[in-house]
């Protein structure tokens, strides 16, 4: 009897302690949720403001108070973007440059990544570390000689000037090598026994297995090159060759004569493709960034 009351008392005491823990835990939990949600409102506000303001009447666009919702959106700003700058051409330029760089890097990085992961040849390690070392070189340290080279080749103010120098990729080589390394050697032996030649081993056996890695690289490269500003600014001169970020910068120049609604309409239009690619490939983008942090 004595024993059982003791146990019950002790259980009750434990219960009380647990209840305090419970309350404390849940308070912390709710506070975290509330702060994260509040923060997300501030982080998303510029997007909402840009969309809402791009739909305001040009005359009111920059008047306070800011307007977040509207019942009669004014779509004229979107038409005006195309009237002021060759926006279609610029979208097409951005698409051309970005897809060419993505496809080009997928090819060069798949080849090099496979060579470093599964082929044996003298000088392999030295070559690998030399290539990795070039990742430390900032764009600014190479841009002047590349600019001179591009103009000697007669490629100034062409989309090729943005594509060609971006085809080799140390980062992509590293990334795809990691994915190739994860595939066991046994696959190769099995394919060789079945009569495949070394190229078929690469093309038919290993390449299809690294598509997730290629997706990671594709989404990361798409995001970087779609938003690139510095190199287009240096290499491109005419509005018909501009990529979208330069076009937006150009559009901003009109703000004094017109309204900011037009500029924001351009911003919103430029954002659509990246957001689309993000929601289609977010798994890969996030996996790619995480891998960089963990494997480094």
């Amino acid at each position: 009897m004595q024993d059982s009351t003791n146990v019950i008392l002790r259980l009750k005491a434990m219960g009380a302690r647990r209840r305090i823990d419970y309350v404390r835990f849940h308070f912390g939990q709710w506070l975290t949720v509330a702060l994260l949600l509040l923060g997300s409102v501030f982080v998303l506000a510029p997007f909402a403001w840009a969309v809402a303001t791009s739909l305001r009447l040009p005359a009111e666009s920059f008047s306070v108070p800011p307007q977040w919702f509207t019942l009669n959106p004014d779509w004229s700003n979107y038409r005006e973007v195309f009237r002021r700058i060759p926006f279609w051409t610029q979208i097409l330029n951005s698409i051309t440059v970005t897809t060419s760089v993505v496809i080009g890097q997928l090819i060069t990085a798949s080849l090099a990544g496979y060579a470093f992961a599964h082929l044996q040849f003298p000088g392999k390690n030295v070559l690998f570390w030399l290539i990795m070392a070039t990742m430390m070189i900032p764009l600014q340290a190479t841009i002047i000689p590349v600019f001179i080279l591009i103009s000697r080749l007669g490629l100034t103010d062409t989309l090729a000037s943005l594509i060609l120098p971006s085809l080799p990729t140390a980062f992509g080589t590293f990334l795809l090598r990691q994915y190739f390394l994860a595939i066991p050697k046994d696959f190769e032996e099995a394919a060789l026994i079945d009569g495949a030649n070394p190229f078929q081993v690469f093309y038919r056996v290993y390449l299809p297995l690294v598509t997730p890695g290629q997706a990671v690289l594709a989404v990361l490269v798409f995001n970087t090159h779609w938003n690139d500003f510095f190199r287009p600014l240096v290499f491109l001169l005419s509005k018909e060759r501009f990529t979208i970020p330069l076009g937006l910068n150009d559009l901003k120049g009109f703000e004094m004569t017109g309204s900011i609604s037009v500029v924001l309409a351009g911003v919103v239009l430029a954002l659509i493709p990246v957001v689309l690619v993000y929601f289609l490939g977010q798994r890969y983008l996030i996996e790619g960034i995480m891998m960089g942090g963990i494997k480094a």
Binding site: W49, Q140, P145, N223, A270
Partner: protein
């Protein structure tokens, strides 16, 4: 391994290389694979030589010349570097850049670490997905678009931010128009745009900590701040180092935000090192002088990264 690979091609008789490669032996197969390796690397190595490695050497070489593209270059020794040392604009731009890097990287890491730790506590997958996506979205915006949108919102008279501050009784802040504020405003803009990237790094790093270690800490009675400081952060330290290194390299190259938001103004208050390099090389056509700046910037990045790795021996813990 090496004895199977092609040793010294010159030793073989000319004309026999084809037979030597197609030889139906294990050694022949290894030779074919080695050849394939070099062939696969050719585009990458050639491309890096032409567009990265070669140009770095060329930048160093050009920095000893005076050249405006139209006339032939003139060798002037270290004059460009002597001039750089006394150039006030260069001094201001480096001061601005360092101010920017220190604040931006510190805030970027601190804010995203807090966010990542907060998100770890969320139980609902829906909430986790929403918050992760919301804080990541600004990373999808180009620097130009970010500069435009936040530049308008932070406008001194008509900006939404000053309007709401006014409603709270706070006087208008000269975000982009006062030389005291402008760099800090660009830091805020940069952190808004980049915190999503570091956030994902930290979420990945936190998920990578093995549950056994956290359980063990639990059993030992480690919880709350104690556990965060003594268990979680040391386990996360390699990711923190990576975020710091990548963050500093990225921030040192800051260009698009100040270029679009302020064109370096007011005065030179938001002019950064890369902006001055861009102006010297591509606006004033002082190729040699601009190359000198590029070299200094590169050396600065190398030095800072080396120091970070050296310091990391004291605080980074590898499992």
């Amino acid at each position: 391994m090496n004895d199977q690979a092609p040793g010294n091609v010159n030793k073989r008789r000319q004309g026999n290389i084809y037979a030597w490669l197609t030889e139906d032996t294990l050694a022949g197969a290894a030779r074919r694979k080695a050849l394939m390796g070099y062939a696969f690397l050719l585009p990458t190595i050639l491309g890096i030589l032409i567009f990265t490695a070669g140009p770095v050497v060329a930048s160093l070489g050009l920095s000893f010349y005076r050249w405006n593209v139209f006339q032939p270059p003139v060798f002037i020794g270290a004059s460009n570097y002597e001039r750089l040392m006394t150039d006030m604009r260069m001094a201001i731009s480096f001061k601005n850049t360092i101010h920017f890097v220190i604040l931006a990287v510190f805030l970027q890491i601190a804010v995203s670490l807090l966010l990542a730790l907060g998100m770890q506590k969320l139980k609902s997958t829906g909430l986790r997905y929403y918050t992760r996506t919301a804080y990541f979205l600004p990373f999808l915006m180009s620097g130009a678009a970010t500069a435009i949108v936040l530049g308008y919102m932070l406008h001194h008279e008509f900006g939404a931010v000053n309007y709401y501050l006014g409603r709270l009784g706070i006087p208008r802040v000269p975000w982009l128009t006062s030389s005291g504020w402008v760099l800090n405003t660009i830091v805020i803009t940069y952190v808004w745009q980049h915190m999503g990237f570091t956030l994902i790094l930290f979420i990945g790093g936190l998920n990578n900590i093995s549950p056994e270690i956290l359980d063990a800490a639990d059993v030992d009675g480690s919880a709350g701040w104690h556990r965060l400081w003594n268990v979680t952060l040391p386990m996360l330290s390699p990711t923190l180092l990576f975020a710091a290194v990548v963050g500093v390299i990225g921030a040192l190259q800051i260009f698009d935000l100040p270029y679009v938001m302020t064109r370096g103004g007011p005065g030179d208050a938001s002019r950064t090192a890369v902006m001055v390099m861009y102006e010297s090389a591509f606006k004033n056509m002082e190729i040699g002088y601009g190359s000198g700046m590029a070299v200094i910037l590169f050396l600065l990045i190398l030095a800072v990264t080396a120091v970070q790795f050296w310091l990391s021996k004291r605080w980074v813990f590898y499992q």
